[in-house]
């Protein structure tokens, strides 16, 4: 049962990710990426991390992807121009495909040499990490500094986004 659901969710994630980079319409890419995040959320549930699965759906699929959709609709650029720049030869795209295939082979080969290591299937181990209380406890004690710094990061990026995207005239209003 676990194996079957792993393969189903993994297939959803991989196929829709391939769809994201294979689509010419950015709108479809964003939609397929949301499907991919759904598959990953299923995998998080299989890994006894329901909190992470829910934040994946709420933050990624709910907030970040809506931001992407806004920008795609705002720019209204539905197609990608096919013309390669003059500086790149005809083999540039093929070279990129070769490089990324090489990376895929290398990463999969390296990671498959880790060896089969099973998880601790003891239910106590699963319940210890799936509790939101335990996550909150660690987040607000051991990682409290990083948590506070995160708020500064969000503030800075918010101000930065407003400044970069909002300045219609150079020199500002």
């Amino acid at each position: 049962m676990d194996v079957v659901s792993f393969y189903i969710f993994a297939a959803i994630a991989v196929l829709s990710s391939i769809g994201v980079i294979g689509q010419r319409n950015p709108m479809h890419s964003v939609m397929l990426l949301i499907v991919s995040f759904g598959g990953l959320a299923g995998l998080y549930i299989l890994l006894d991390a329901p909190f992470t699965a829910v934040t994946q759906i709420i933050i990624y699929a709910g907030a970040i992807m809506v931001l992407f959709l806004f920008v795609v609709m705002l720019l209204n650029a539905h197609t990608e121009d096919d013309s390669l720049p003059a500086g790149l030869g005809p083999h540039a795209l093929r070279f990129g495909a070769l490089l990324s295939a090489l990376l895929a082979v290398e990463v999969v080969w390296g990671l498959s040499r880790v060896g089969v290591t099973g998880f601790n299937s003891d239910p106590g181990a699963a319940s210890a990490i799936s509790s939101v209380a335990a996550i909150g406890q660690t987040l607000f004690t051991q990682y409290s500094f990083a948590f506070e710094v995160t708020s500064i990061l969000i503030l800075v990026s918010m101000v930065g986004a407003v400044i970069i995207a909002g300045s219609r005239t150079r020199g500002g209003r």
Partner: protein, 100 residues
């Protein structure tokens, strides 16, 4: 349960798909989406390793990665809007003024 290395290989495949998107696509929005795929592949590794070690640290790092991804998306998309206003195209090849 499915062993740990299945999850590692899956996240390696997802990461490679994201890299292929950055290499092959000539649309700034799709490139940003590919970066999100790569971040998610790494998140999967963190959660799987955290489950393997029996600690919640993997999930907490995933939480921070999501926050950084949100900040990155906000600033990146603001840059895309500013660039589009400037040149009316989303092709990264149009923005090579700083290239030597």
């Amino acid at each position: 349960m499915v062993p740990l290395n299945y999850y590692l290989v899956l996240s390696g495949v997802l990461f490679s798909i994201g890299t292929a998107g950055v290499f092959l696509r000539r649309n700034l929005i799709t490139v940003l989406l590919s970066v999100e795929i790569m971040l998610n592949a790494v998140n999967l590794t963190f959660v799987a390793a955290g489950r393997y070690h029996g600690t919640v640290d993997g999930q907490i790092i995933t939480f921070f990665v999501m926050t950084v991804a949100a900040a990155e998306a906000a600033v990146g998309l603001a840059l895309v809007i500013a660039l589009f206003r400037h040149r009316e195209t989303l092709s990264p090849d149009a923005y090579t003024s700083l290239k030597w």
